[in-house]
């Protein structure tokens, strides 16, 4: 019997998701035993034209990580959608934009200036990459940047979402086990559009720290204090994103004294991650006078970055105004 086909692709991402997949240790042998890996640029040699030659729906499972930053990402997303039965937005970038999505705060010319004309780049002639260039041998193409980064489901239909930056190894193992059980007829797939490999609650729900009624007189930063090992970090004035973030990581960061930064994305009922955190933080500030409230808020150095570190491209507004206006 031929094995079902498996593919994994990276678009605008860091490669951490691939590492996370390899980090499932000997479980990777189960992947090999049950699947025929047909396309996985980081792990094996395959060409886009090989994928293009495949029959539609011939790949059973594709894990797609990374956001859609340029026309190459876009093309492969559409190609893999066509060739795959199950397309999973794998990791925070594909689900909600993640760190590459933070570029949506800036217009594209500023991104290019930062990349090619800041002090760290020796570029006196101001040479910029051209998407099409005439060489004596013929035209060469490199991918064209899009004005903003998009999430996978803003480009193609997505079957499942697997959040995390990167998804935790035990969650990946569980999902692989599930898919293998489905193949053997022992389990059923969750409904389309479901978030898999994560919990249904918030990080706070999984966090072991003690919680009281929260009142904050001052926000601080993790490097300025030695946090109490038992007490909720937010109560100690450390901006922790636990209240809005989906569970599934076993509250890994707060349990070792670091604030939750929100890599598992919005919890199940959260429509806009940043807005939920504005509501949460607003309700715990212990002041009623505008001046005093503003003094406390000054302790949040970069609120938009704090609230949208992983979620900007997937949020309601999707980008900063200057990035959107730059298209006009």
């Amino acid at each position: 019997m031929t094995k079902p086909k498996f593919a994994m692709y990276w678009a605008a991402s860091c490669g951490g998701c691939e590492i996370a997949v390899l980090n499932i240790h000997e479980k990777i042998l189960d992947v090999d035993a049950n699947f025929d890996v047909v396309f996985w640029p980081v792990a094996m040699d395959a060409k886009y034209k090989d994928v293009e030659a495949m029959d539609d729906d011939s790949i059973l499972l594709t894990l797609f990580n990374g956001g859609i930053r340029n026309d190459e990402n876009d093309h492969i997303a559409k190609l893999l959608r066509k060739k795959s039965k199950i397309l999973v937005a794998f990791g925070s970038c594909a689900c909600e934009g993640c760190i590459p999505g933070l570029a949506n705060f800036s217009p594209i010319h500023e991104i290019m200036d930062t990349a090619f004309n800041t002090i760290s780049t020796e570029n006196p002639e101001n040479i910029r990459p051209q998407s099409i260039y005439d060489m004596p041998e013929g035209k060469i193409h490199i991918p064209t940047l899009y004005p903003i980064l998009k999430t996978l489901d803003q480009v193609v239909d997505v079957d499942y979402y697997m959040p995390g930056c990167p998804p935790e190894s035990h969650q990946i193992e569980a999902v692989i086990d599930l898919v293998i059980q489905v193949l053997q007829g022992k389990a059923e797939l969750p409904p389309k559009g479901a978030t898999i490999g994560a919990g249904g609650s918030t990080v706070c729900d999984e966090c072991k720290r003690k919680r009281n009624v929260k009142t904050i007189q001052e926000f601080t930063r993790i490097q300025f204090i030695t946090p109490d090992p038992e007490l909720c970090l937010l109560e100690q004035g450390i901006p922790c994103n636990g209240p809005a973030t989906r569970s599934g990581c076993n509250a890994r960061c707060p349990s070792v004294g670091a604030q939750c930064i929100g890599c598992y994305g919005p919890a199940a009922d959260v429509e806009d991650y940043g807005a939920r955190l504005i509501a949460a933080y607003g309700s715990i500030i212990d002041a009623n006078e505008p001046d005093e409230i503003d003094r406390i808020l000054d302790g949040l150095v970069d609120p938009a970055g704090q609230f949208y570190r992983f979620n900007l491209a997937g949020s309601m507004l999707r980008a900063g105004n200057s990035a959107l206006k730059s298209v006009d």
């Binding site: 806009d272 939920r276 504005i278 309700s283 505008p290 938009a304 507004l317 999707r318 105004n321 206006k325």
Partner: protein, 155 residues
């Protein structure tokens, strides 16, 4: 007048509380005070029910401004929820500013049930302020970004 010369009419979504500011709007109405028709009011039980998500959704769907209105400090029907809204509002204003949405596009207005005239007056001022800032065009800009990519689907 053709499209070009028509003055820009901003769309403003207003959130009012049931006990004070919505009644102020009601009073302005029953007293037949005229004010700009640009504000679409949505009644909440309390300004504390105002979730910043509402403002983000309004802007994402084409609003040019957002008004949040509640009972005067100390007068909240639910003891202190309008203070909660005030804190959320101030934090939201900072976040929107970082997203290059002018602070002038959002307004906080305290209005008691007796302040119909003040309510009408403040709305007129806010509408002029947003008109001055021009259209935000969030939805149009998102569609413009989608456009070239939609054409490529044909590949």
């Amino acid at each position: 007048m053709n499209e070009e010369t028509k003055p820009f009419e901003p769309t403003i979504i207003g959130f009012t509380c049931n006990w004070c500011s919505y009644r102020a709007a009601d009073m302005a109405g029953t007293a037949r005070m005229k004010y700009s028709p640009n504000v679409r009011l949505i009644r909440l039980m309390c300004s504390g029910r105002f979730d910043p998500t509402f403002a983000f959704q309004a802007f994402a769907n084409g609003a040019d401004g957002v008004l949040v209105s509640g009972c005067h400090p100390g007068d909240c029907h639910y003891i202190n929820q309008n203070y909660k809204m005030l804190r959320r509002f101030l934090l939201m204003k900072r976040v929107l500013k970082q997203m290059d949405i002018e602070p002038g596009r959002i307004k906080l207005l305290w209005a008691s049930a007796a302040e119909g005239a003040i309510f009408a007056d403040e709305i007129n001022k806010f509408v002029e302020q947003v008109r001055e800032l021009g259209p935000l065009k969030w939805k149009e800009n998102i569609i413009a970004i989608e456009q070239p990519m939609l054409e490529e689907v044909a590949v």
